[in-house]
């Protein structure tokens, strides 16, 4: 955690920023030619991917002292919500795309 103290003063920040910039461009490039039928599943899949925030929730939860009730309660809630986002997101996306699959099989 203390690494954050330096976060905005040292070169590592700029390396992270490089990652951010590259990711932004990549996100734009990857998506920019998606056919409109795939808009909803793609949105849903992206929705599942940002569920990666669950990792933060796990860390919060796992680092909470056993008498730190705030961290325990909120962390627990965060883990549940994050999992909902991830699992629900991927499952619902898969269901949407299953429809397309079926369609193709009978082509």
């Amino acid at each position: 955690m203390d690494s954050i103290a330096q976060l905005f003063t040292d070169a590592a920040t700029y390396r992270l920023l490089t990652i951010v910039i590259l990711s932004i461009f990549l996100g734009i490039e990857v998506i920019s030619r998606v056919p409109s039928v795939l808009h909803t599943p793609l949105m849903s899949g992206a929705n599942a991917i940002h569920g990666v925030v669950i990792i933060g929730a796990i860390i919060v939860m796992g680092e909470a002292a056993s008498d730190d009730y705030l961290a325990l309660t909120l962390g627990f809630l965060a883990v549940i919500l994050g999992t909902l986002n991830v699992v629900g997101g991927f499952v619902v996306t898969d269901r949407m795309l299953e429809m397309f699959d079926k369609k193709k099989k009978r082509k």
Partner: protein, 461 residues
């Protein structure tokens, strides 16, 4: 150093997943690839994460309990949800992600009584964006499933501006440590929640998918702030990827409806509804009805029938009945095809997905341009629960809120039969001149019932 490698793999699966998701052939596999990477990252974090003193994580029972509860509820919800309710489900899940980011920020705020400025910025921004995404998504969810009605807020823009200014002021006070009172932090949280609500509230239901996509990219950015917080590359790449891809997707969705994002957010359909009905109050001609029997005869002796499905077909869950009709007609030697408008229904691809569910062969589905090309050779166009996507005002009336949207030009066909339950308008809330045209006949009733009756009539013709 196994964990960084796992995170690297996770980032790669996210990129590959998104890439594959944007091609029809690989989309489903792409989703699985991303899910695999996510699982890897989660399991890796649980077992391999070490804090700066080298301690591993604790509270395993809690973590696993949370994961199990979330997985079960998530899976059940995702499996049970109806096709038509999927966008609202996505919105709900998105809100959960936003809330998760918000909660993390709250805990970290309390764990760091004397944070550096950089850290404070990251915590506050993560909380702020997560909260807006959370409250906004919940409203979007409520509106889509009808629990919350469209509501224009008087002086909405002014209020939003005030909220924004308030949030900014408090954030500056907090970050520059001019005041470090926790009430500032929670004040920001409260205002952000309110902002999310007021931001989504006035937007028309028809534009909801666009808003959900936007909120989706918000949550992505909030997750990325988590990545900064924990110096975690997979959260960073995952979050930012979704943030930028989501933004582009939002713009693409707007384009598919031929609207600008600004137009969606500010001059929302909801607000223009009045404008629409004013336009509708001008004296319309009268419309004519057609009986089931006449419809059956007309169709049985047609050479070519085109079915145009819309939101009503989805509501009535009439896709199977529709496929039934198609088969009966084909048995009689009538050529049947479907004209699919890109924004028919409530989500892009809605009609494709729906008809695929009923096993309608893929090659019978014609995209808008192709359908319009075939219109002149079509004997009967049967419109089932569609309205806005065949509204000629989009081409003819520059004052109409949907002006400029490409439509299915059904008037080129010989006969137009419209099935809906009443003369009520569709999602854009505007009258449809088509219904009063001489070529058009109305066939009132619930789509499923009408189609089933039509099938039995046809069998007797």
């Amino acid at each position: 150093m196994l964990l960084p490698l796992i995170y690297l793999i996770g980032s790669i699966t996210f990129i590959l997943g998104l890439k594959m998701l944007s091609h029809p052939d690989s989309a489903r596999k792409g989703n699985l690839v991303a899910a695999f990477g996510m699982t890897l990252a989660i399991v890796g974090t649980i077992f391999l994460y070490r804090d700066h003193s080298g301690n591993s994580l604790g509270n395993y029972p809690w973590i696993f309990a949370g994961l199990v509860i979330g997985s079960i509820v998530g899976t059940l919800a995702a499996k049970k949800v109806q096709m038509t309710a999927m966008p609202e489900m996505v919105s709900l899940f998105n809100g959960m992600g936003g809330a998760c980011a918000m909660l993390i920020s709250i805990v970290e705020y309390h764990h760091n009584p004397n944070p550096s400025m950089g850290m404070l910025v990251v915590i506050v921004l993560g909380m702020l964006i997560g909260t807006v995404s959370f409250s906004g998504s919940i409203i979007a969810w409520g509106k889509l499933n009808g629990r919350i009605k469209d509501r224009t807020i008087p002086a909405g823009q002014a209020i939003n501006f005030l909220l924004f200014a308030g949030i900014l002021t408090m954030a500056v006070l907090l970050v520059f440590s001019i005041s470090s009172a926790p009430f500032l932090f929670y004040g920001i949280l409260a205002l952000a929640a309110l902002y999310g609500i007021l931001f989504v509230m006035p937007i028309g239901g028809a534009d909801m998918p666009v808003v959900i996509s936007l909120l989706n990219s918000f949550t992505g950015v909030a997750a990325a702030f988590g990545g900064f917080l924990y110096d975690n590359p997979v959260m960073l790449t995952g979050g930012i990827l979704v943030g930028s891809a989501g933004t582009i997707l939002t713009i693409l969705m707007c384009k598919a409806m031929n609207r600008s994002l600004k137009n969606v957010l500010i001059g929302s359909f909801g607000g223009q509804k009045t404008g629409g009905s004013v336009g509708g109050s001008k004296e319309q001609g009268s419309y004519k009805e057609i009986s089931l029997n006449d419809t059956a005869v007309l169709m049985a002796y047609a050479s070519k029938v085109m079915i145009i499905p819309g939101y009503g077909l989805a509501v009535a869950q009439a896709q199977h009945a529709c496929h039934e009709l198609e088969k009966v007609l084909e048995d009689k030697g009538v050529e049947v095809s479907y004209g699919i408008h890109p924004v028919a229904g409530r989500m892009p691809g809605h009609m494709n997905v729906l008809l695929a569910e009923a096993d309608v062969p893929y090659d019978k589905l014609k995209e808008m341009e192709e359908a319009n090309d075939q219109m002149a050779q079509t004997t009967v166009v049967l419109i089932i629960g569609a309205n806005d996507v065949v509204n000629p005002a989009a081409k003819e009336d520059p004052a109409s809120p949907i002006y400029g949207m490409p439509i299915l030009e059904v008037e080129k066909a010989e006969h137009v039969i419209v099935n809906k339950r009443s003369m009520k308008p569709g999602y854009a809330g505007i009258e449809n001149d088509l219904f009063f045209k001489p070529k058009t006949s109305m066939l009132f009733g619930d789509a499923k019932k009408v189609l089933q009756d039509l099938v039995s009539e046809l069998k007797q013709v």
